[in-house]
């Protein structure tokens, strides 16, 4: 009896969650497909958006991964103080709000930025950040660190013994060890970055600049916000889904998506260090730190002048993030308790989904019944929760599986009810993963500028949207102030959540 109750409590929430996930992906896709005016076909402008989406994603992937190789190699064969901090810094862009990074990049690479001031001083014509170059630059900013971490894992996976053997035989390391390792790890890294850049919206919105640099996600937004052409938006949403699904299928076959692996501190004493290592490490540190430093430098002085509307927007962002986090954790926990391949696949679905497609689908569903503006924030909560689900699931499900393997029979012997099992056995032991997942979801949701841009008016504005509006009005100091606030909230929320996870039951 108790066992049956346990089975139900394990399964029911999981299937409910699965149904919700399916409704949000396939349901919204169905709504979109039903509405899509396929007969009208794609215009020349649409085709060029598709072409640009694929090309910029490919370029971003290649540049990120190629630059990541020397950086990862330098990290793999150098030991120095602050190496741990640098590896941690490489993880930071993941939870950095996109719009904050864009503003920082503008301060470094924009018309009045550091780079052009430098170029001007030596008499070189200024470069423009708007357009394809800027889009790729921003994507590299976000994905170079990810690629470095992925490839660094590859390097660290080469056992130290192989290096010693190679040294004894005086064999060329690059050819016998490193090249084969890269051949194994590069396709995965390329695909992950490609997939991330395929659904780029906020970067294209802020740096795209016209029809020449429009992604499909941006074209969906334009079709709704500019033309109110739902048929075209729906058609483009189908195209976006197909692109993502294809890339995700390939990625699924090639690599497990694993960005936060451990063991990064195990290094081999290497004899083949090059002075270039330092150049690469310094360059990548500058590339990551300078934009953020510029934001702080420009934004901190204007913090006291931020208007009430900015603080209201910040409040809305925090509330949205709290709600999204509660949803994500509930969903991830229930899926982890159920376990199994199917559940895992459902949990991975959001990786291939696009926020704008979901937003469009939900919009089409609610439009006949309510003013979409009134549900802008609830829809944002749902989509944000959903987009963070794969990461939360990845953190939680291995831990939950271990706990069940370790304590499952004990719990059964004691005839613990399902709630008691959850409360006494599981929850105390997943606190660490749960807190980390909560921190990630909070940070991602606070910084999100995606589906909220579809419907929101100033009355529902979140902080990233308010910041985008300030940038549009060229109130750059106010925008930098809002950026500092946003940065503080996103990183602060992550830190608060994550630090609550210390003192796990098992970790002691």
């Amino acid at each position: 009896m108790a066992r049956r109750a346990v089975a139900i409590i394990r399964s029911l929430p999981a299937w409910l969650t699965a149904a919700l996930v399916l409704a949000l992906t396939l349901g919204t896709l169905a709504a979109v497909a039903w509405r899509a005016e396929v007969g009208r076909g794609l215009s020349a402008g649409d085709w060029s958006a598709i072409r640009f989406t694929v090309l910029q994603a490919a370029a971003s992937a290649v540049v990120s991964v190629v630059l990541a190789i020397p950086v990862a190699r330098a990290l793999a064969r150098r030991q120095f103080r602050g190496r741990g901090a640098l590896v941690m810094l490489l993880g930071a862009p993941f939870i950095l709000p996109v719009i904050v990074a864009v503003l920082g990049l503008l301060a470094v690479f924009g018309r009045g930025g550091l780079l052009n001031v430098g170029l001007g001083a030596v008499g070189v014509a200024p470069v423009s950040i708007y357009g394809a170059g800027g889009v790729v630059l921003a994507h590299v900013f976000f994905n170079l660190p990810l690629a470095v971490r992925l490839i660094l894992q590859g390097w660290l996976s080469i056992p130290a013994e192989r290096f010693r053997l190679a040294a004894q035989l005086n064999a060329p390391l690059w050819r016998v060890l490193e090249l084969p390792m890269l051949a194994r790890h590069m396709p995965g890294a390329l695909l992950v970055v490609f997939l991330i850049c395929l659904t780029s919206f906020a970067v294209a919105l802020t740096l795209g600049g016209g029809p020449r640099a429009t992604t499909v996600e941006l074209a969906i937004w334009q079709a709704i916000r500019f033309d109110f052409d739902l048929g075209r938006a729906a058609l483009l949403a189908c195209v976006q889904f197909a692109l993502c699904a294809m890339a995700a299928l390939v990625a699924w076959h090639i690599t497990p998506l694993d960005g936060f692996g451990s063991g990064l501190d195990r290094t081999v004493a290497r004899w083949d260090q090059s002075r270039w290592d330092w150049v690469w490490l310094i360059l990548v540190t500058l590339f990551l730190v300078l934009p953020l430093a510029m934001i702080l430098w420009r934004g901190v002085p204007s913090l006291p002048d931020l208007g009430l509307d900015i603080y209201r927007a910040a409040g809305r962002s925090v509330l949205v993030a709290l709600a999204a986090t509660a949803l994500t954790l509930g969903a991830a926990l229930s899926l982890s308790l159920r376990g199994g391949l199917l559940v895992g696949m459902i949990g991975a679905l959001p990786l291939a989904a696009s926020a704008l497609v979901m937003g469009t689908g939900l919009f089409l569903m609610v439009f006949p019944f309510v003013n979409p503006v009134t549900v802008a924030l609830p829809v944002t909560v749902c989509v944000n929760a959903f987009m963070a689900l794969p990461f939360a699931l990845r953190l939680l499900s291995p831990t939950v599986a271990d706990i069940r393997a370790d304590y499952g029979r004990l719990a059964a012997n004691l005839a613990l009810g399902p709630w008691a099992t959850l409360r006494l056995i599981i929850l105390p032991r997943v606190r660490k993963s749960l807190s980390f997942a909560a921190g990630l979801t909070m940070a991602l949701s606070i910084g999100d500028l995606g589906v909220v841009a579809l419907f929101a008016t100033p009355a529902q504005e979140t902080l990233p949207l308010a910041m985008y509006r300030l940038m549009g009005a060229y109130r750059m100091d106010a925008a930098a102030g809002a950026a500092v606030l946003l940065l503080f909230l996103a990183l602060g929320a992550f830190w608060v959540c994550d630090s609550r996870g210390q003192g796990d039951a098992d970790a002691g």
Binding site: S43, A44, G45, S48, A49, F52, R111, G112, S128, Y130, G131, G209, G210, P211, R212, T214, Q222, I224, R225, F226, D227, F228, F367, V370, N371, P372, V373, F455, T457, P458, A459, G472, A473, Y474
Partner: protein, 324 residues
């Protein structure tokens, strides 16, 4: 006890009185509501005579207003939409979301006006605005062949952006597609709205920006800076007539009517030249400095129906030409 009850009653009455102050929601474009735009002065002037709360809400640039209203549909809170122009009125009328304004006003426009739904509140000539020492051009062909860098607005979201498509179409006819193809390398970027474009120009990102012949008046009058000018084209410059209309489903019909009538009165019209930097739609005296502005040889304007007929095709041509 009695006094408590009384005071509670008094408070309740007072709050009902506050709650009964009716609110008129006006959906408009961003620069209209900004602190230096016409919004604040017009709000003060109208609230002085309406015993109401006038709320301006910005929703991007003018052309995005229509999409926004369609997005919200019949359930919208907006009572008035202010900031569409003649290139959009036919499409706006087809939505069925707008009601006749019922205003008879003595309009002072460069074109005849007899629209019963859309009421003009100002007008201007589109023009490229540049520094005086930038060598100007007088045709699209010359602009496309030059090395001048320009910033323009997206015709799908911005009314001047859409006006530019109509302008090129009116000036070049079938040659428009070629003009756009040749202009592509002159265009630094395409912004969603006028504000972004104008600021990019002021920040030095471009030699010229698509704006109005009246824009230099802002620098002259507000900033005492006479370094800006605008270019009159030989073929003429395209006109923009900005209009307002009452939303059918308004819950404040009397107040909406009162505001529509107010649009054509001096309290509104006098504010326009020095806040929206456009020509007022009725006969009011213009501030000093307006006499120094470029006056184009001719004002071009497609009829609302002609503009609606060519709009989709022109946008598609534009997108195709600029996305190459």
């Amino acid at each position: 006890m009695k006094t408590t009850l009384l005071s509670v009653g008094a408070i309740l009455c007072a709050s009902t009185a506050i709650a009964q102050t009716p609110t008129l929601n006006v959906l408009t474009y961003d620069s209209f509501t900004s602190e230096w735009g016409p919004g604040p002065a017009i709000e003060a002037a109208f609230e002085a005579e309406c015993a109401c709360d006038l709320v301006f809400t910005g929703a991007g640039d003018g052309a995005a207003l229509l999409a926004r209203l369609q997005l919200e549909g019949i359930r919208t809170d907006a009572d008035i939409v202010l900031g569409l122009d003649t290139n959009l009125t036919a499409a706006a009328r087809d939505t069925g979301l707008f009601a006749p304004h019922g205003v008879t006003a003595d309009l002072n426009l460069p074109v005849a006006w007899d629209d019963d739904t859309f009421l003009p509140f100002d007008w201007g000539y589109l023009a490229f605005v540049a520094e005086k020492d930038t060598p100007g051009v007088t045709s699209f062909r010359a602009l496309a062949d030059s090395d001048l860098k320009i910033v323009i607005q997206d015709p799908r979201s911005s009314t001047p952006g859409l006006g530019l498509l109509m302008w090129v179409h009116a000036a070049e006819g079938d040659g428009a597609a070629q003009i756009w193809a040749d202009l592509a390398d002159n265009i630094v970027t395409v912004t969603p709205g006028w504000t972004e474009a104008y600021n990019l120009f002021l920040e030095g990102e471009a030699d010229a920006v698509l704006s109005y012949t009246t824009s230099p008046a802002y620098h002259l009058i507000a900033e005492d800076d006479d370094s800006k000018t605008s270019w009159g084209f030989d073929v003429g410059n395209y006109l923009q007539v900005e209009v307002a209309a009452k939303v059918t489903g308004t819950d404040q019909p009397e107040l909406a009517d009162q505001f529509m009538a107010f649009i054509a009165q001096p309290g509104f019209q006098n504010v326009i030249p020095e806040t929206n930097w456009m020509y007022p739609a009725t006969e009011v005296s213009l501030p000093d400095g307006f006499d120094t502005l470029t006056v184009p040889s001719k004002g071009l304007l497609l009829s609302a129906q002609d503009a609606a007929d060519v709009r989709d095709a022109l946008v598609e041509t534009w997108r195709a030409a600029l996305s190459q």
